[in-house]
C-alpha cells in the first residue's frame, strides 16, 4: 500500500489541488456576488442566460460549433482520403498539419496579416484584400464587419485544426482492410457507394473521436478571438467573456457561473469522447 502511495500519491495530490477542489469551489462561487461576499442565488446564471453579451457569445459559439466542426472534420476526411492517392503524401500531410505545431497566437498574427485592410485606392498589404481588388471588388474590413468577421475567425480555426483531423482520420483510413473495399468494387459499387457504405462505417470510431474533440475545442475557443478581435465587433465567445468577467470586470460570481455552464455543456461530449477512447484501449 505504501509503495502504491509513492507511485500514485503525487499525481492524486496534484489532481485534488488543481482540479477537484477548485472545480467544487467554482460551483460554490457561482452562487455568490462579484466579491464572493454574499449569496445571490441564481443571479449570476440569470446574467449568463439573459444578458445581451452572453446571448451574443452563445450565438457565436453555436456558429463556431456548426461551421468549425463540420469544416475541420469534413476537410480532414477529404484530405485523409485524397493524400492517400498522391505520391507526395508525406509532404502534403506535413504542410497541412504544421499549423498545429505553432501557437494560436502565432496563427492569429499570420491571419491578421492576411486580413489586413487599407481603404480602397491605397495599396493593399493584406493578401485577401489584394485578391479582392484584383478581382474588381472593394477591399473589406474582414475583422471589423459583422457577421463576416465571425467567418473570418472560423477560417483561422479551420486552418489550425484540419491537419489534426486529417492525421487521425488518415491513420484510420489506412487501417481499413483492403479486401473490404475491393469486395465492394467487385460487387459493382461506385466510389460514392464504397465511401458511404464501407469507408464511413469502418471509420466511425475515429470520426467520433475527432468530432467530439473538435466540439470540445470549439466550446473552449479563446486564443484566436483574444488575439484577433478580443470579442469586439460582435465576435464575443463564451471563454473570452469569462476571461473578461474575471480580469476586466473583476466579477468572480459571473465568471464562475460562465465556467460552470461551459463545464455542463462539455460533459456529454467528453463522455462520448472518453467512451470511444476506452473502447479503443480494450
Amino acid at each position: 500500500m505504501l509503495t502504491a502511495l509513492f507511485y500514485v500519491g503525487p499525481a492524486v495530490l496534484f489532481l485534488l489541488v488543481y482540479q477537484v477542489y477548485p472545480a467544487l469551489q467554482t460551483v460554490y462561487l457561482s452562487f455568490l456576488d462579484r466579491r464572493s461576499e454574499s449569496f445571490v442565488g441564481l443571479e449570476n446564471y440569470k446574467y449568463v442566460f439573459t444578458s445581451q453579451t452572453m446571448l451574443r457569445a452563445f450565438k457565436n459559439n453555436l456558429l463556431w460549433l456548426v461551421l468549425f466542426t463540420a469544416g475541420t472534420v469534413g476537410l480532414g476526411l477529404l484530405f485523409a482520403i485524397l493524400v492517400d492517392r498522391v505520391k507526395y503524401e508525406r509532404i502534403a500531410k506535413s504542410i497541412i498539419f504544421m499549423p498545429m505545431a505553432i501557437s494560436f497566437v502565432g496563427a492569429g498574427v499570420v491571419w491578421k496579416f492576411i486580413y489586413a485592410y487599407k481603404p480602397s485606392g491605397a495599396e493593399q498589404i493584406g493578401l485577401l484584400n489584394q485578391i479582392m481588388v484584383v478581382l474588381g471588388f472593394e477591399p473589406k474590413g474582414w475583422l471589423l464587419e459583422s457577421p463576416i468577421n465571425n467567418l473570418a475567425l472560423i477560417v483561422v480555426g479551420l486552418w489550425i485544426w484540419t491537419g489534426y483531423c486529417m492525421v487521425i482520420l488518415s491513420a484510420a483510413y489506412k487501417g481499413i482492410p483492403k479486401e473490404l473495399m475491393e469486395a465492394g468494387q467487385v460487387d459493382g459499387a461506385n466510389d460514392w457507394q464504397v465511401f458511404r457504405h464501407i469507408i464511413i462505417p469502418e471509420m466511425r470510431p475515429a470520426l467520433t473521436m475527432v468530432t467530439t474533440t473538435m466540439l470540445v475545442n470549439v466550446l473552449k475557443i479563446f486564443d484566436i478571438i483574444y488575439v484577433m478581435t478580443n470579442g469586439n465587433y460582435g465576435t464575443e465567445v463564451i471563454a473570452n467573456r469569462m476571461f473578461k468577467e474575471m480580469f476586466q470586470f473583476a466579477n468572480t460570481g459571473r465568471a464562475s457561473a460562465i465556467a460552470v455552464v461551459l463545464f455542463v455543456m462539455i460533459i456529454p461530449i467528453m463522455y462520448a469522447n472518453i467512451r470511444q477512447k476506452l473502447k479503443g484501449e480494450g
Partner: protein
C-alpha cells in the same frame, strides 16, 4: 489493386489539383509572414509581400533589422528565455509524475486502484476554466502567481490527466509476466519501474514529451491567468499578444516577433513529427 481501380474512377488530375491547392492554402499564409518579417518597414507599409516574388533573389530588399528590433526593445529575447524555462519545467514534472502514476495504476495491485483511475479519467472532462479562480486565489495567498514555479505546478496539474491516460494505455500493453519474472529475480518495484517499464516505453514517453512541450510552449491562457501582468516572466505567447495591441499596424515588427515565437515549435515539429503523430494517435485509433 484497390487504389488502381479507384484511380481509374476518380480522375487523378482532380485529386492532384485539390491536394496542391490545399497545400498552397496551408503554406502561403506562413510564407507571407516569413517574407514580411525580412522586409524593411518602409516597404512593408507600401506594398504587399508578394511583390518580392517578381525578383526574389534581389537580396538588397531583405533586412534583419526587424529581428534586431524585436529581440532588443520588443522584449522578445527575455520572453524567449521565459518560454524555455516555463516549458522545460512544465514538461519534465508532469511527464515524470504521470509515468509514476500510470505505472502504479497499471502494474501494482492495491485497493482503490480502479477508483483512482476513474477519478483521473473523469478529470479529462473538467475544463481548465473551472479551476482558474480558486487556484488563482490560492496562488495569491501563497505568492505563487507571477512565478515560474507556480506555472510549472499548474501545468503539471492540468497536464496530468491526459498524460496518465496516455501512458496507462501504453503500460497496460506491457506483459505482466515480464514484471513477475523481474520480481522473482529479486528486482524491487523501483527497479522494475526504472529499468524495465521506462526503457520499454521510450517511444510513448517521447511522444508525450513532445506533445506536452508544444502544448506548454504554445499556451497563452494559462500564462495570462497566472503570470498576471508581470512582463519579466511573460512567455512568448503573452508577449506577442500584447505586441499585437501595442504595435498594432507595425507589421514589420509583428511578423518578426511572431516568427521568433514559431521557430522552436516548427523545428521540433519537422524533426520529430513521427513521435508527435504517434502521440496524437495514442489511444485514439488502434489497429
Amino acid at each position: 489493386m484497390t487504389r488502381q481501380k479507384l484511380k481509374a474512377k476518380m480522375p487523378q488530375i482532380v485529386i492532384n489539383v485539390v491536394v496542391i491547392v490545399a497545400m498552397l492554402l496551408w503554406i502561403v499564409p506562413t510564407l507571407g509572414l516569413l517574407i514580411t518579417s525580412f522586409r524593411p518597414a518602409s516597404d512593408v507599409v507600401y506594398s504587399g509581400w508578394w511583390t518580392v516574388l517578381t525578383s526574389p533573389l534581389k537580396f538588397t530588399q531583405y533586412t534583419v533589422e526587424n529581428y534586431k528590433a524585436v529581440l532588443s526593445s520588443g522584449g522578445m529575447s527575455t520572453a524567449f528565455r521565459n518560454s524555455f524555462i516555463i516549458t522545460v519545467g512544465g514538461t519534465v514534472i508532469p511527464v515524470f509524475l504521470a509515468s509514476l502514476a500510470a505505472f502504479g495504476l497499471s502494474k501494482l495491485h492495491f485497493r482503490g486502484r480502479g477508483l483512482f483511475y476513474a477519478l483521473i479519467v473523469f478529470m479529462l472532462v473538467v475544463p481548465t476554466q473551472m479551476t482558474f479562480i480558486p487556484v488563482l486565489r490560492l496562488y495569491n495567498k501563497l505568492s505563487l502567481s507571477g512565478t515560474f514555479v507556480g506555472l510549472w505546478l499548474v501545468h503539471t496539474g492540468y497536464g496530468l490527466p491526459f498524460s496518465i491516460f496516455m501512458l496507462h494505455t501504453f503500460f497496460q500493453g506491457l506483459p505482466d509476466e515480464l514484471f513477475e519474472a523481474a520480481y522473482i529475480d529479486g528486482a524491487s518495484v523501483w527497479t522494475s519501474f526504472f529499468r524495465l517499464a521506462i526503457p520499454l516505453s521510450v517511444p510513448a514517453l517521447a511522444s508525450l514529451v513532445i506533445f506536452q512541450f508544444l502544448f506548454v510552449w504554445n499556451d497563452l491562457l494559462v500564462a495570462l491567468i497566472y503570470l498576471g501582468g508581470h512582463e519579466s516572466v511573460a512567455p512568448l505567447t503573452v508577449r506577442l499578444s500584447s505586441l499585437v495591441g501595442s504595435f498594432g499596424q507595425d507589421w514589420h515588427l509583428l511578423t518578426a516577433a511572431a516568427f521568433v515565437s514559431m521557430v522552436v515549435p516548427i523545428v521540433v515539429f519537422f524533426s520529430l513529427q513521427q513521435y508527435f503523430v504517434r502521440g496524437l494517435l495514442g489511444g485514439a485509433v488502434k489497429g
